[in-house]
């Protein structure tokens, strides 16, 4: 049976034994793992834990192991975005979130597998091979933060960090039956996060319960001058851990229950919404008419930004370098030989969308549609406190099922990309199962209203048993 420990369980264990023993027991579990969730393990994890035991480091996460997505820079610990083009790259500095975690006493245990450069919904595009879904090893863990979700679900770390550009925290959280939060754009510094689509992405935590999500957010959230899009706004996530949704107004967007939503998923989500009604909340349907264009706008913007952000990987400053008679040939070969096919496709499409003659047709048009999607949310939040929908339209799919047809995989992001376009916060919490696989309920809040989001998710968890389901013992 998989053992899940919350942060408070870990702290109790540290008191009973030691931080070193707790970290050692996680390292032992990882050693025996068959899911391929980690890309590398930190040599310094045991030493960091020993420092906690000696009282040299204290803080709200003292001695708590945490797994970090492989696109977040960790000083002295390989950071590759699961791409051959960053093979051997060891960052000379820590990301803002890593500095904060270390200062809070957390033990960085290792880096987790992901779709190459966070481009995907399945973790299949990783140069290290796919991570297996702990619930069913023939299925994907979701993506792009598949490793971060799977190691938490498999009991190989109590908490982890992912990044969410178009659903990359929420999708794997839903597929692996854990909790995952995408904060408001600007709430967590992106300093040290290797950019894919910088106007869309945020770093977010994953855990087995909402309480732990709040605890990690109180450590990593807040202003940082090194990210020029960081917003100076204080949010107290743990103060929002209140079991009370009386009078809460829930909007249920019709468009998120469209064609192609799996029946079991739809039922689990509606059961959850009805449960909220029982708990004293009210719900009403709401229309968000521009939702159907969100996916095309999202991919146009994400690929355009990617084509620019990934220009820096050219064999000059880091990573492998191919031969070539001049710089242009060297760079073209380095990129052709070391970027995977999906990354190449997105860079090509992004470059095309930004090239002379097409910029207005694709890029500018997508940015205008983004405004319309944002206005849908503004209208909805004028009447509702939160919105609810399935996180993913279907449970985890089989490995290999969507590899050959990129568009079919893009389409699974239909319920997660609008929030990145609008910058609003959202959380995925387990709400039951479909065919024995976990289903995620997505709760969406207004800008910087993480407090309502946390309170809503926490209340649901306190009044249901869904988050107690573990791989191997399906609820």
């Amino acid at each position: 049976m998989t053992k899940w420990l919350s942060i408070s369980d870990v702290k109790e264990k540290i008191v009973a034994t030691s931080a070193e023993e707790v970290t050692a027991s996680y390292l032992e579990t990882i050693e025996k793992s068959s899911i391929n969730g980690y890309t590398c393990i930190s040599d310094g994890a045991l030493d960091a834990a020993k420092m906690v035991d000696k009282g040299e480091v204290a803080g709200p996460l003292a001695g708590v192991p945490i797994a970090i997505k492989d696109n977040i820079s960790t000083k002295g610990l390989a950071t590759t975005c699961s791409s051959k083009i960053l093979e051997g790259y060891v960052p000379p500095y820590d990301a803002h979130v890593i500095e904060r975690l270390k200062a809070a006493g957390a033990v960085i245990i290792g880096k987790t597998n992901m779709d190459e450069f966070a481009m995907g919904t399945s973790t299949e595009s990783s140069c290290y091979g796919v991570t297996l879904n702990p619930w069913d090893h023939e299925r994907v863990p979701g993506g792009s933060s598949g490793g971060s979700a799977a190691v938490v679900a498999a009991g190989e770390a109590p908490i982890s960090l992912g990044s969410d550009t178009g659903g990359s925290v929420r999708c794997p959280a839903a597929f692996c039956g854990v909790v995952g939060l995408k904060p408001t754009y600007g709430a967590v510094s992106r300093y040290g996060l290797i950019s894919y689509a910088n106007s869309l992405e945020q770093i977010g935590p994953m855990a087995t319960c909402v309480e732990d999500i709040a605890a990690v957010m109180d450590v990593i959230g807040g202003y940082d001058a090194r990210d020029s899009t960081s917003i100076d706004k204080k949010i107290d996530h743990q103060a929002a851990l209140v079991d009370d949704v009386k009078g809460l107004k829930i909007g249920v967007p019709d468009e998120y229950f469209g064609e192609g939503v799996d029946t079991g998923t739809e039922k689990a989500v509606w059961d959850a919404i009805n449960k909220f009604e029982e708990m004293g909340a009210s719900w009403e349907k709401v229309s968000m008419p521009n939702t159907k264009y969100a996916l095309a706008a999202y991919y146009t913007i994400a690929m355009s930004e990617a084509s620019s952000n990934l220009a820096r990987f050219d064999g000059t400053r880091y990573g492998p370098r191919s031969d070539g008679e001049n710089w242009h040939v060297m760079a073209s070969r380095t990129r052709a030989e070391n970027f995977g096919k999906e990354v190449q496709r997105r860079i090509l499409l992004g470059t095309y969308a930004l090239s002379a003659g097409y910029q207005d047709k694709y890029y500018l048009k997508a940015l205008q549609v983004r405004t319309l999607v944002k206005q849908d949310f503004e209208r909805a939040f004028a009447n509702f406190d939160v919105l609810m929908a399935p996180t993913m339209p279907l449970p985890a799919f089989k490995i290999g099922e969507k590899v050959e047809d990129p568009l079919s995989q893009y389409l699974t992001d239909v319920n997660t990309v609008p929030m990145n376009l609008a910058g609003v916060p959202c959380i995925s919490v387990p709400c039951g199962s479909s065919d024995g696989l976990p289903v995620g309920l997505q709760i969406i809040g207004n800008h910087f209203d993480e407090a309502t989001l946390i309170r809503t998710a926490y209340s649901f968890e306190k009044n249901t048993d869904h988050n107690k389901a573990r791989p191997g013992e399906v609820a």
């Binding site: 020029s228 073209s332 048009k365 940015l367 205008q368 568009l407 893009y410």
Partner: protein, 93 residues
């Protein structure tokens, strides 16, 4: 539709070497995605401002003061070729 020639041109713009067979494959796969993007044409965006960014901020300034930065030695550890404290790359022109 994107043609094979266009794929090769775009490949050059973004410095990704593409051989003939790959260009054919890309032309097919990229066209199906571009077709999908084409549905944006249906949306009436007359007079709608583009949203480049969600953060409600314009210019972010800081004082022009020197602050500690990475050591030159640390910055150079990841490069394929280093010479006299510089990153060495093949000639550009």
């Amino acid at each position: 539709m994107i043609t094979k020639d266009e794929v090769e041109h775009v490949g050059w713009l973004c410095r990704i070497e593409i051989d003939d067979a790959e260009a054919e494959d890309y032309a097919v796969k990229l066209s199906s995605v571009l077709d999908y993007f084409g549905q944006l044409d249906e949306v009436d965006t007359e007079g709608v401002e583009p949203t480049y960014h969600m953060a409600d901020i314009m210019n972010v300034f800081r004082e022009d003061v020197v602050t500690p930065s990475l050591d030159q030695k640390d910055v150079l550890t990841n490069t394929a070729e280093e010479k006299d404290g510089y990153i060495k790359a093949p000639r550009i022109i």
